[in-house]
């Protein structure tokens, strides 16, 4: 009886807090405008052979005792709409010859070597195997480039680093200065800011968890070239995915496109 009372109290507290949070974010007052998982039609030119292909990295998820945490995050978040919508912008705004559809790649074979630029979403939930760690190190040292996105706060950072430190135990993760060519190669991104995911709707707040400030970090090789571009505490893919939505602010979408283009052109020139 006493146990039941405790449960009821907890339920009451959760309900009250949830209603309060929902009212603040507008969930209760308005319909959530972003529908995930809608079918994406395959473009007619999906088979076109092009110079550049948007490669998305598949990875195994972090498993912990916390089942809810373990279920969150996956390589396929925002897939494939974010990828396809972004490459439309890449086509229009640059001279990169790009395929209209993405390519999912893994670190379990050499196929990834055919795609010297790869994007990984939610690496705060990845857990690479030893083989994958070695493959990623080899890929990056040969000239591949990894762009990370959509992971937030200290806990996801720690999980990201558990794998990344095994890839490069000898190379530090550093904050990128504004003067780095990656912020100037096509667009000047010195005034860049945090890009929120749709979870932040209606965007009166742009961070998630304790990831208050956007972090632009990276890992350089011995020649001072970036191998890994780490976009932490931001959700660029959501901005790509919902750039066509009137509910997603244009300023975030525009910056996300500029960031994506810069990261790709940098990878193709350095």
């Amino acid at each position: 009886m006493r146990k039941r009372g405790i449960w009821m109290a907890v339920l009451l507290v959760v309900t009250v807090l949830g209603v309060a949070y929902g009212q603040r974010r507008g969930f209760m007052s308005r319909e959530f405008p972003f529908r995930e998982g809608e079918d994406q039609p395959t473009p007619n030119d999906a088979d076109e052979k092009t110079e550049f292909v948007f490669a998305r990295l598949m990875y195994p998820n972090w498993r912990s005792n916390d089942r809810v945490w373990s279920m969150r995050g996956a390589w396929s978040i925002d897939y494939p709409k974010a990828d396809r919508q972004f490459v439309q912008g890449l086509r229009r705004l640059s001279r990169v010859h790009v395929r209209s559809v993405e390519q999912a790649v893994s670190l379990d074979n050499d196929d990834i070597m055919n795609y010297p630029w790869v994007y990984v979403v939610e690496p705060g939930h990845w857990d690479l195997t030893e083989t994958q760690v070695k493959k990623l190190r080899e890929y990056l040292l040969k000239g591949g480039f990894l762009m990370t996105d959509d992971f937030h706060g200290s806990m996801e950072w720690d999980i990201f680093m558990l794998s990344m430190q095994r890839v490069f135990p000898d190379r530090p993760v550093v904050d990128l200065p504004n003067s780095d060519p990656i912020f100037n190669v096509v667009y000047n991104l010195e005034g860049k800011f945090q890009i929120p995911g749709i979870v932040n709707w209606p965007f009166d707040q742009t961070h998630e968890y304790d990831g208050i400030d956007a972090k632009w970090r990276g890992i350089y090789d011995e020649h001072g070239r970036l191998m890994v571009g780490i976009c932490h505490n931001m959700d660029i893919a959501d901005a790509w995915e919902w750039a066509d939505s009137p509910h997603y602010p244009e300023r975030y979408a525009s910056l996300a496109y500029r960031i994506g283009i810069n990261y790709i052109v940098y990878a193709m020139t350095h």
């Binding site: 092009t50 010297p116 040969k142 000239g143 193709m268 020139t269």
Partner: protein
Amino acid sequence: MFELLFQHPLAVYRKGELVWQSGWPLWILGMLVVAAIAAAAVFTLRKTVAAGWPAARGVTLWALQSSLVSALLIMLWQPGLSIATLKPKQNVVAVMLDDSSSMSLADTGTARKDLMQRALESGLIDNLKKRFQVRFYKVSDHLERVEDHKSIKAEKQASRIADGLKQIAAETGSLPIGGVLLLSDGADTSGGIDRDTVNALKSRQLPVHTIGFGREQYDRDLALVDVQVPARSLADSRLGAQVILKQRGYAGQKATITLKDGEKTIASKSITLAADGAAQTETLLFNSGAAGVRSLQVSLAAMQNEDNTGNNGLARLVQVDSRKPRILYIEGEPRWEHKFVRRALEDEKTLSLVTMVRTTQNKLYRQGVRDAKELEQGFPATAEEIFAYEGIIIGAVEATYFTPTQQALLKAFVDRRGGGILFLGSRASLADGGYGASEISDIMPVQVGERRTSFHRDRAKVELTAAGRDNLSLRLEEDSARNQERWKKLPELADVQFPGAVKPGAVVLVDATSSQGRTPLLITQNYGRGRTAVLATGGTWRWQMLQPLEDKSHEMFWQQLTRWLVGGTPGPLVASTSNSVYTDESRVMLRAEVRGKQFEILPDGQVEARISGPAGAAATIIMQPDPIQAGVYLGEYSAEQPGSYLVEMISSRAGEQQGIDQVAFRREDGLAEKFHTEQNRELLERLSAETGGKYWKIDELNTLPETITFSEAGISAREIRDLWHLPIVFILLAALRGAEWLLRRRWGGV
């Protein structure tokens, strides 16, 4: 035997003119011969037919009788040989004695100089002196008149036979020289007998009789024939030394070639020796190292019981330039090839890569520029801007991107400036980029077509062609066979383009095979003063990504290809000497190819050569314009001391300096005498044959003095030697008559 039968020396028959002494017309002789033959036919054939003999017997007898009567008639006309003969004691014979150190070799058991003395003293000199006045000369690095033959020491480190002969011909113009007698092993160290020397002797009608000494062929010898290395190179480049060698007595055995830079061994190779006497070429690859003059020593390890080990080493110089050529690489769109070419050349300290890529429709991204101004306005549009580079790589850029002025400049960049342009394959290159209709197509090594579907993003395997296998710029492995295999194992290219028909004179180095078929991939050619190439792909980057991290194929390919692209690009002044190493030779020909600041020919410049050499040797030479080639200036220097020399040439016009360049050379003494130490009989025989003399062996010198007398060179008189009373004539007549008699006896007589 010859003289017993023919009474006169062979030289009389060789040099004499046939004359008829009877004074009767020759036509009468002809008619009589015809009549005699006809009479013999009637007489003999009629009798043999009447006797019932076969026709063959009659014809045989008729032929014998006709020959006999004809021979007798010919003798009646008194044939003779008219020949010029030197007047006794009134002519001079120049005896030229080889005083070079090779004459001290005792390859036949006795030193060659001793054999020479012995030959002279065993009657030859006395016999000569009976007929002529004899003048002695000794020849080594110079010609010197001596009292007698006893001063020969055979210690000099050179033998300049040709120079000596020319000098005799020139200095004895007022003397009645009847002939020259050369006693030598034929080991001329100045490169043989040239046409000038032969002409000088012929114009004086001076026959040169030669007596050869030394073995004509060794039993056991391993010898360097030549070593060829590039005279100039960029720093830190892979170079090849082509070593040509010959051997006798060691076929199939192992030998070792070593290449040293000073005391440091920089390359070594174990080889299997080819057949006796066959020229064998081996290539040693080495790194040119830092800027400066490399003094290379190539040597063959001595074999067991080798007859001559002095010919196992040769020196060569390579001048490693300190210049750091700049290459401009333009891409019309971001491409992986651009990224990976940049990376491949990242560690290349002697090249500088400047890149510009059109990232968007209106933006260019520049890397490797000297300052913010460089290429700020896009691709260079003036000669001054574009000629600042030594090589250009054109990626996915359609032809119309270049203005007509820029297209003309690209052509001039190769033709006039002497730069290199590499065209890459892409969806905007070659035919797909509209190059077929552009002025740029003139300089391309392929005939670019009009069809715009030549580019395919299909994987393609690569393979070296026969020419590619020999090309050192494509060596990923030192060994040729292993290199070929390594190329076959390279990952497939990401894409390939069909470049069009290969132009005459262009060379295909690499082929590619894709699902679209086989096509030339890497084609090169020289154009004007420069060179162009097509690499019909933008997909070599897969060699980097699809091979193990430690594999350097991609880097090596691009480093070597770009070095080839700019390695031969000249500056406004190109200094050179006729050789890089002068062995026992002091005459150095200097050459400067001079251009103005815009690489226009500079016919009215001033060129000065400042030379510094060993023991403080220094000279300044004002070079003179070559009357044949505009923009070329020539000079001559005599390097008296052995050692290394440095020549700095400076060109100027109206007091303003236009160009500067350096070249080094080395003079070595005593080396040439160690090479080709076998008797060069071929040279001696050729010299004699061309001048009307004869080559003599030591054991046949008794007729030499008389043979020399048959010469028109000195004071001579014509004499006629009768032919009618020769023993051979009598024997012939007797044989004809005897043969007829014997046949008649055998056949039963008629």
